[in-house]
Symmetry: C2
Subunit: 350 residues, 2 copies
DNA sequence: CTGTTAGCGCCTTCAC
DNA sequence: GTGAAGGCGCTAACAG
C-alpha cells in the first residue's frame, strides 16, 4: 500500500541499505551481481527514492526558488520560460512564488523557502525590498533582479532602464518629435521610476518639457491613459510608454479614436514582449532578451550555489547590467521595407 | 555561521525541542512564559524552520507539482497564473516542470517529484501519456489535464475540443462560408487531434469537404501555413486554426499578402489567449477560461490530496469537462457595434 | 566490496 | 505543561 523505502529494497535484494544507496546514486563501487539484484528489487517494488529525505541527508535540494511580484503579463511568463530551460539543463527544479505585492509579503515567501531550495532569485521591484531579501535569506545564495541600480556589490542582474528610456526618447527626437508624453509605471516600482527618470533627463537635455501621465504597467492602464489624454484634447507627437503592454493599450485607444500611428502619433514601448511584434502597427520598443535574461539568472545562481558550497568564496558578487536594444518597428517609422528596418534597428543604441 | 536549528532555539530558551515545536506549529498547549522565551530565542537566532525536515516528519510538503509539455506559449502562462493564485490561496507552493517533449521524458519528471510534492497536475497532450502518468505517480494524487477525452474514471479536467471545433465551423457556416480550411496542430497531440476531428465532422455534416494543412500550434507555423496556402493560389472563404497563436500567424500572413480579414477570408482561433483580443482585426475564437481552469485544477488536486489522506476514499474521480464558448470578434464579422458583438457572442455555442 | 551506524532537522506519541 | 526518545527515508563515514 505505502510506497516502498530503501529498506524494503535492501531486504528484497538481500543487501544493506548502503549498497542500495550506492547503486542508486552511482557513488562508490558495487559488484555487478549485487547491482543487478538491487535493480531487480527496485523494479519489482517500483521503488522511487524519496527526494525529500535525500535532501535532508545531502543538504541539497536541487531546486531553486523564484520570488516574483506578479505572474501577470508576458514579461514574467517569458522570464520563467527562460529560467525553466536553464534549470532543466542544470538538473534543477523550479519553484515559483508570485503575487508578492509588498515587501513583507515577499519576506514571508522567502522564509518559507528555507530547506526547500538551494538558492533564490528575487524579483521585487519595490523600494527597499532588496536589502530585505538579502537579509532574510540567511546563508541562502540569492540573486537579485529587483530593478534597483544601487545593488552593486550584491550578486544581481539589472536592466539599464535609465539608458533604455533615454534611447527611446532620442529615437523619437531624431524623428523630429518634440512633444513626447510618457505613460509611467506603478508608484514605488523601481523600474518604472528609472524609466521615467531616463525619459525626463533626455527630454530636458533636448530642451523639451517632460509630460507624464500615470499608468500601472497593464494594458488596460495604457488604454485608459491614452483615452484620457485624447479626451482632454491633448495630442502629443509621440508617446513613450513605460512598458509594451501599456503601449499596446495606447495603440488600441488611438485606433478607436481614429488617430493614426505613427502618422499622427508615434509610439515606443519597453521590454519587447512577444506581442510587441504581433500588433499592428508593430511596436517600436527597447528589447530585453527576456527569456535569455531568465536563463542567465539561473546560471548565475548556479554559480553562486557552487561558490557557497566551498569556503573559498570567489565572490561572484558582480552586478550584471543588461542594456536594452532599440528595435524599430512601424509604430514609429511606418511602412518601411524590411531592410530599412533592419538597418535602423541594428544601430548602436547608446 | 550555519543556520540555527530547533535545537539551538531550545537550548537558548532553556526548554526542550518539543516545546519549541509546539510553539511554532501551534499544536498543543504551552504556558505563556515559556512561549515568550521561545519566541525570544527564535527572534534572537533569527531561526526559520527547515521545511524539508518538517516534510519528512509530517509527510506533507505543502507543495504541488505541475508537469507541462514543451509548448510554452501564452496558454500555459495563463494556466500557471491561475494555478499560482489558487496555490497561494491554499498555502501551497508550486513547482513547475516543463519542456517534456515525449512521454518517457515526462515520466522521469514525474518520478523526480516523489517526496517533493503532495500531488501532481499533469498536462501531457501526448498519446498514451495518460496511463503512464497515472501509474508512475504511485500513490501520489494526480490530476490529469492531458486533453484526451477517454480519461473518464480518472480525476481529470478536459476541454471539449471536438464540440468547440464544431461550434467554430458552425459559426463560419452560418456566415455563409463553405470552403473552410483548417490549420491543424502538431502530430500526436490529443487536443489537436480532437479539434481536427470536430472540424471534419462538422464540415461533412454540412456537406462540405474538409481541407487540412499542417501546423504545430506556434505563431510561426500558422504564418507559414497561410503563406503556403496563398502562394499556391488557394483562397479559402474561411480559416479555422487549431489555436489562437496559429490564427494570429495566419492573420499576419494575409495582411502581408493584402488579403483582407474578414472581407476576403474569415478567421477563427481557439483558446482565447490574451493576445486574441489585442490583434487587429480582433480574433473570433473559442474561449477557454484559461486561468480559471488552472485555478480549478489546483482546487481539484487539493481535494484529491485531502481525500488520499483519509482511508475512506470518497472517490472524486470525476472527469470534469470544460466547454469552450464562442467569442465573436472582428476576424469573422468585421466592424460591428459593440452591442452587436455582445448579442452574437452570448448566444449558446452548442 | 559490503554492512553498521550515525545523523540530517523536525514532529509526535508517551510518560512525567 | 513539559521533556525524552523514536522515527520520517536517505546518505555518508567507518569498519570489516
Amino acid at each position: 500500500m505505502k510506497p516502498a523505502t530503501i529498506r524494503d529494497v535492501a531486504e528484497r535484494a538481500k543487501v544493506s541499505v548502503a549498497s542500495v544507496s550506492r547503486v542508486l546514486t552511482g557513488a562508490g563501487v558495487v559488484a555487478e551481481p549485487t547491482r543487478l539484484r538491487v535493480l531487480e528489487a527496485v523494479e519489482a517494488l517500483s521503488y522511487v527514492p524519496h527526494s525529500g529525505a535525500r535532501s535532508l541527508s545531502t543538504n541539497r535540494t536541487d531546486t531553486v526558488g523564484v520570488i516574483l511580484p506578479d505572474l501577470f503579463g508576458e514579461f514574467f511568463s517569458e522570464l520563467i520560460r527562460g529560467m525553466d530551460v536553464a534549470a532543466r539543463a542544470a538538473g534543477l527544479h523550479l519553484i515559483v512564488s508570485s503575487s508578492h505585492d509588498d515587501a513583507s509579503d515577499a519576506a514571508a515567501a522567502i522564509r518559507s523557502m528555507r530547506g526547500r531550495v538551494d538558492g533564490l532569485i528575487v524579483l521585487s521591484p519595490h523600494l527597499d525590498a532588496a536589502n530585505l531579501a538579502a537579509n532574510l535569506a540567511g546563508r541562502l545564495p540569492v540573486l537579485l533582479m529587483n530593478g534597483g541600480n544601487n545593488e552593486a556589490g550584491r550578486p544581481s542582474i539589472v536592466v539599464d532602464n535609465i539608458g533604455g528610456a533615454r534611447t527611446a526618447v532620442e529615437h523619437l527626437l531624431s524623428l523630429g518629435h518634440r512633444r513626447i508624453t510618457h505613460i509611467g509605471g506603478p508608484q514605488g516600482n523601481l523600474e518604472a521610476r528609472d524609466r521615467q527618470a531616463g525619459y525626463a533627463e533626455a527630454m530636458r537635455a533636448a530642451g523639451c518639457t517632460p509630460t507624464v501621465v500615470a499608468g500601472n504597467f497593464t494594458q488596460a492602464s495604457g488604454h485608459q491613459a491614452m483615452r484620457d489624454l485624447l479626451a482632454e484634447g491633448v495630442r502629443p507627437e509621440a508617446v513613450f510608454a513605460g512598458n509594451d503592454m501599456m503601449a499596446v493599450g495606447a495603440l488600441l485607444a488611438m485606433q478607436e479614436a481614429g488617430v493614426r500611428v505613427p502618422d499622427d502619433v508615434a509610439v515606443v514601448g519597453f521590454d519587447d514582449v512577444p506581442i510587441a511584434g504581433l500588433v499592428r502597427p508593430a511596436l517600436t520598443t527597447l528589447r530585453i532578451e527576456i527569456a535569455e535574461t531568465g536563463r542567465r539568472a539561473v546560471e548565475r545562481l548556479v554559480t553562486l550555489i557552487a561558490a557557497a558550497a566551498r569556503p573559498d568564496d570567489p565572490s561572484a558578487d558582480a552586478c550584471e547590467i543588461i542594456t536594452p536594444r532599440l528595435v524599430v518597428r512601424q509604430s514609429t517609422v511606418g511602412e518601411r521595407t524590411e531592410s530599412a528596418l533592419q538597418s535602423l534597428s541594428s544601430g548602436d543604441s547608446t
